[in-house]
C-alpha cells in the first residue's frame, strides 16, 4: 500500500505544476471461458489470481487526464515483467505507435527493425522472448477528461 500512496503524491505534485493531472494504473488480467445457460462459451476477464506456467496474462494500463490542460507527447512505457514473454499488443488508442525494445530499454523501434546478438556474436532478428519493453507513443494529445487504456499480452514461462 505504501507504494500506491507514494504514486498518488507524485501525481498530485505534477498536477500542481502543470495543471494536467495524469493518472496511470496497471492491472494483470486473465481470460476465463465459461459456458452460459444457452451452452454458449463466454470469455470474461478477471484479475490474474490463478496463473501457472504457460498461461497468458493481459496487462492493461489505464490512463486518465484529470487536469485542465491537454497532455501532449504522451509516451507509455512498460517493461516486460520477469518470467514473462511478450506475445502481442492488444490495444493502442490515440493513433499510438507501438515500438519495442530488445536491449533493456536503450533503443526502441518497430519489432522488425530490432536485432539481438546471437551466441556466435552475429546479429539476428529479435524474437518474442527477446523483447524487454513495450512502448506506446501517442500521436494525439490527451485532452482534459480523456481516458483510455493500452494493453499487451504476455505468457508466463
Amino acid at each position: 500500500m505504501k507504494r500506491v500512496l507514494t504514486i498518488t503524491v507524485l501525481v498530485l505534485l505534477s498536477a500542481g505544476v502543470a495543471n494536467a493531472a495524469v493518472e496511470l494504473n496497471t492491472v494483470a488480467l486473465t481470460e476465463i471461458t465459461t459456458t452460459d445457460e444457452e451452452g454458449q462459451e463466454v470469455t470474461t476477464r478477471v484479475e490474474a489470481g490463478k496463473v501457472v506456467p504457460g498461461d497468458e496474462v493481459i496487462y492493461t494500463i489505464t490512463f486518465a487526464n484529470h487536469g485542465t490542460e491537454p497532455a501532449a507527447d504522451v509516451v507509455i512505457t512498460n517493461p516486460i515483467p520477469d518470467h514473462m514473454v511478450f506475445t502481442q499488443v492488444e490495444d493502442s488508442p490515440y493513433q499510438a505507435t507501438v515500438s519495442m525494445s530488445a536491449d533493456g530499454g536503450s533503443r526502441y523501434d518497430a519489432p522488425r527493425n530490432l536485432t539481438v546478438t546471437d551466441a556466435k556474436g552475429q546479429p539476428r532478428p529479435a524474437k518474442e522472448s527477446d523483447f524487454t519493453h513495450v512502448r506506446w507513443t501517442f500521436q494525439n494529445p490527451l485532452e482534459p477528461g480523456a481516458e483510455g487504456s493500452v494493453s499487451f499480452r504476455a505468457q508466463l514461462q
Partner: protein, 362 residues
C-alpha cells in the same frame, strides 16, 4: 499498411491499433510457484511544450501458482517374461514432475483388467509391491526401499519398480498387468510423505496473493486428465516351453525292390522319424521321447540316431523297466525290444530334435 517480415506478420492499422501476429511460444522454463510477477508502467508527457514529471503506475502483482503436472511412463520396451514360481519379478516405470513445484508422489500398482502391450490379461500376480529407485541406478536393488517418491524437483524424473511373485500354477502365455499410478502429494518436507493432493483450487476464487493449485496433467492408462494423477501400464507374460512331436514313417527297403520304390511287405525295413519341436522361448530340459515298437515288426538293433545327441535306452517289458540290452538276431533285429526311449539333455528355444529308428516287418 502491411509489412511482412521473414517470420512474423505485423499489421499496423493507421487508426492506432496494432496487432502482432506471433507464432506460439515454446516454454523455455517452468517458473517456480510462489514467484511474484510484478508489472509497472510509466507515462511521460508534456504540457504546453514543457516536459512533466514521469507518472509511475501502481504495481500489478500476482504469485505464480502451483501447476501440478506429471507423467508416468513404462520403461520396459516389451512385456516382461517370467516363469511360473518366479519371485520378485520387476516391472520398471518412470515418474516425471512436469510441474513447477517440488512434489511428493504416492504410488500404487493397480491390477489391470486389460493386458499390457496388447496382450490378453489372464491372471493376477501375488505379493505386489512398489519401490522407488532410491539409489538412482535405474535397477532394482535391495537398497530401493522407499515406497513413495520424496521431493521430486520440477523437471526431474525417477525410476519406480513394481515387484510381484508369479504363482506356480501359471502356464505358458499367461499375462498379468499393472497400472502404476502416481498421485501428487505435497512436497517441501524431505524424508516425510506429504499429504495427497486430491483436488486443485479450481473451485476456489482466484487469489493473486495465494499459491493456488492448478491441475494440468493429462490422462494416463488408469486415470483422467487434470486429476493430479498419472498412470502407465506394464505387465508380465509367462513364458515356458511348448513342445510338439510329429512322427513320420517311410519304407526304406523291401526284399524284392530293395531301396527302389520299396513296399511295406514282410521283411521290409521301415524307418520312423520323431520330430520334437520347442516353439517356446525357454529351453526344455530332459525331454523324454518314448516310442513303442509296432506290432508285427521287430526293432533293428543299432538303428537309433538322434540330433542332438541323446541317451537311448530300451525296454523289453512294455516300458516298465529300461535296463534291457538289445541283442541282434539273424536279420539284425531283436524282437524282445518293446519300447525305445530317447532323453535329450536340452532342446533349445525355437529349435527341434530328431530321432530315427528302424524296424523290420515280420
Amino acid at each position: 499498411m502491411t509489412i511482412r517480415s521473414k517470420k512474423n506478420l505485423f499489421v499496423i492499422l493507421l487508426a492506432g491499433a496494432l496487432v502482432f501476429g506471433l507464432s506460439s511460444i515454446a516454454l523455455a522454463q517452468n517458473t517456480p510457484s510462489g514467484t511474484p510477477i510484478n508489472n509497472t508502467a510509466t507515462l511521460d508527457f508534456s504540457v504546453s511544450g514543457t516536459p512533466q514529471t514521469q507518472v509511475v503506475s501502481n504495481i500489478a502483482s500476482f504469485l505464480v501458482d502451483n501447476k501440478v503436472d506429471l507423467t508416468v511412463t513404462t520403461v520396459d520396451a516389451a512385456i516382461v517374461a517370467v516363469i511360473p514360481g518366479g519371485l520378485a519379478q520387476v516391472l520398471t516405470y518412470a515418474v516425471t514432475n512436469n510441474g513447477n513445484t517440488v512434489q511428493d508422489y504416492s504410488l500404487s500398482a493397480l491390477n489391470s483388467p486389460t493386458g499390457a502391450f496388447g496382450e490378453v490379461e489372464t491372471f493376477n500376480a501375488v505379493n505386489v509391491n512398489v519401490y522407488v529407485d532410491t539409489d538412482a541406478d535405474n535397477t532394482y536393488t535391495a537398497a530401493d526401499t522407499d515406497t513413495y517418491i520424496d521431493e521430486l524437483a520440477s523437471g526431474a524424473s525417477i525410476t519406480v519398480f513394481v515387484l510381484s511373485d508369479i504363482p506356480l500354477v501359471q502356464v505358458n502365455n499367461d499375462v498379468a498387468s499393472y497400472d502404476l499410478i502416481a498421485q501428487t502429494a505435497a512436497g517441501g518436507t524431505g524424508g516425510a510423505q506429504g499429504a495427497d493432493i486430491l483436488a486443485d483450487d479450481a473451485a476456489a476464487a482466484d487469489d493473486p496473493a495465494l499459491i493456488q493449485i492448478v491441475f494440468g496433467d493429462g490422462a494416463g492408462t488408469a486415470d483422467g486428465a487434470t486429476d493430479g494423477r498419472f498412470s502407465s501400464k506394464d505387465g508380465y507374460k509367462v513364458i515356458t516351453t511348448t513342445l510338439t512331436a510329429m512322427k513320420t514313417t517311410s519304407v526304406i527297403s523291401d526284399p524284392f525292390n530293395l531301396a527302389v520304390n520299396p513296399k511295406a511287405i514282410p521283411g521290409a525295413t521301415v524307418g520312423y522319424t520323431i520330430l520334437v519341436t520347442n516353439s517356446g522361448t525357454l529351453a526344455a530340459d530332459n525331454v523324454e521321447v518314448i516310442d513303442s515298437v509296432p506290432a508285427n515288426s521287430a526293432f533293428l538293433v543299432g538303428s537309433v540316431a538322434t540330433v542332438p545327441a541323446a541317451v537311448v535306452s530300451y525296454s523289453n517289458d512294455g516300458g516298465a523297466t529300461w535296463a534291457y540290452g538289445p541283442v541282434p538276431g539273424a536279420n539284425g533285429t531283436d524282437p524282445a525290444v518293446t519300447d525305445v526311449r530317447v532323453v535329450y539333455l536340452t532342446v533349445a528355444a525355437a529349435s527341434a530334435a530328431t530321432e530315427t529308428f528302424s524296424v523290420i516287418i515280420d
